[in-house]
């Protein structure tokens, strides 16, 4: 399994893509999506909601189990992926593109430096 090099990863299996100096997109990794199996329900915060780094921002539920989603950043939600409400399986089919979850406005993106690169995430999964 290969992980895109242009995004950052967390130990909780979320990914973050920097869109601009103050805007990031968040989703879950293919590893997480495969572990969950068929995703049937995703609950995401509404635009305007605050998210806090390493705190829960939503829930994802598969046929097997329910899991919490943890935010890799602190900021304000500016958009959420409304398509996931009717077609949550997109998370399984396209974890890094169509399966994105929320766009967040952040003060700056320097905190992302602490997150893992694709290579580091792969090593983390192997350990």
């Amino acid at each position: 399994m290969s992980y895109p090099a242009d995004i950052k990863y967390t130990k909780e299996h979320e990914w973050v893509r920097v869109e601009s100096d103050t805007e990031v997109v968040i989703g879950i990794t293919t590893y997480a999506a495969d572990e969950l199996g068929d995703v049937v329900f995703v609950e995401l915060p509404e635009p305007g909601a605050k998210v806090v780094s390493q705190e829960q921002f939503g829930e994802i539920e598969s046929v097997k189990a329910v899991s919490e989603l943890y935010s890799p950043v602190t900021g304000t939600v500016i958009q959420r992926n409304e398509e996931l409400s009717d077609a949550p399986e997109i998370v399984n089919d396209s974890a890094y593109e169509q399966g994105w979850m929320i766009k967040v406005e952040v003060a700056d993106t320097s905190s992302l430096d602490e997150l893992m690169s694709a290579e580091e995430y792969e090593q983390f999964l192997e350990s």
């Binding site: 199996g37 068929d38 049937v40 329900f41 829930e59 539920e61 046929v63 097997k64 329910v66």
Partner: protein, 343 residues
């Protein structure tokens, strides 16, 4: 892989939803070797087993199967089982994986101390594969050396599959037409591979759980246990308590007279969310019960579940609220089964 009843079992092979659809639309196979296979034989076998099991198996014709429960003296459900009558003096009882020891000790406790009954647990020497779905007949026929028409619903016949003699039963746990076959352990891998070559899709525990829930079939350990009696679990029609020699008979006859304080109901989620085992059920204010099983149903495209509720909340259409991680989500009582195949 997950631990299940002392075995390591696959939750899924390709995906729970795809596997569930395979069984509803074509044919799936399940390795159910974890379930026990206990042979009870001897001149007193039928009389003995009838004292234990919830129906009179002496009346069961040879080659037929019966579903029922095994209750303790207080009427609690030790296990639910299928009993097959293999010959006039030989029966086979199928305990759930996690209940093999409980069933074994219960049988041994009541075993007559003459040599009229012998118990032989053949679980480790044989395997069991469930072949389930509308195309199960076609797939298994390709490997069978006899006509499968001879195996009607809830019947069991010995025949050759892939050149090996084994028991073939027309039973299952999915709500579809299907078979359960019992090859010896040394040939089971070959049989499994040949079934796949003839179109069967391997299915894991996840799909099995969704399918049985859609079909309104209970899972022991989840939906019933030794603290629940068969009347609360809605299993009345599988219990013949009017038999003097039936060990829990007296207790069950008394229980039958009383309206149960709680009953198992099916429910469909109205709001968004999936009920899970252990979630509280309320009437909006007060707690009135507990969820015992819940899942999404790919066949019905709804979230469904089972749970026990207080009397007064059991009729179809009754509003319930499932407390899903702090939120009250609306649901309504639904008649079981959720899914009934067209015949």
């Amino acid at each position: 892989m997950v631990p299940f009843g002392g075995w390591d079992m696959p939750v899924q092979y390709t995906g729970i939803l795809d596997e569930t659809r395979a069984v509803r639309n074509s044919v799936g196979i399940f390795d159910v070797s974890h379930m026990g296979r206990v042979v009870v034989k001897g001149t007193g076998a039928g009389e003995f087993l009838s004292c234990i099991f919830s129906t009179d198996v002496e009346k069961l014709a040879v080659g037929r199967a019966k579903y029922g429960v095994t209750c303790d003296q207080e009427g609690g459900i030790i296990d639910d089982n299928i009993v097959y009558r293999l010959s006039p003096m030989e029966y086979m009882l199928i305990p759930n994986a996690g209940n093999r020891e409980a069933i074994s000790s219960w049988l041994n406790r009541w075993l007559p101390n003459d040599d009229s009954v012998a118990i032989d647990d053949v679980s480790e020497r044989t395997a069991m594969i469930a072949v389930q779905g509308p195309d199960s007949f076609q797939t298994l026929s390709a490997l069978a050396e006899s006509d499968l028409e001879s195996v009607g619903p809830f019947r069991i016949v010995e025949m050759a599959i892939c050149g090996q003699t084994m028991l073939v039963a027309r039973t299952g746990y999915t709500g579809e037409d299907g078979f359960e076959i019992m090859p010896s352990t040394d040939v089971v891998l070959d049989v499994w591979d040949q079934l796949i070559q003839h179109g069967a899709i391997p299915c894991g525990l996840g799909a099995r759980d969704v399918l049985r829930l859609e079909a309104g079939l209970l899972l022991h350990g989840n939906d019933m246990d030794q603290t629940i009696n068969p009347y609360e679990a809605g299993l009345d029609k599988f219990v013949d308590a009017n038999r003097e020699a039936y060990i829990p008979g007296t207790t069950l006859r008394e229980m039958r007279q009383m309206a149960p304080s709680r009953s198992l109901v099916g429910f469909t989620m109205v709001g968004r969310g999936i009920a899970r085992h252990g979630y509280p059920i309320t009437d909006g204010a007060e707690m009135i019960g507990t969820v015992t099983s819940g899942s999404v149903s790919p066949t019905l495209d709804k979230a469904i579940g089972l749970g026990y509720v207080r009397s007064g909340f059991t009729s179809e259409g009754t509003r319930l609220f499932i407390e899903i991680r702090g939120k009250k989500i609306e649901a309504e009582v639904t008649c079981l089964p959720f899914y009934l195949r067209s015949r």
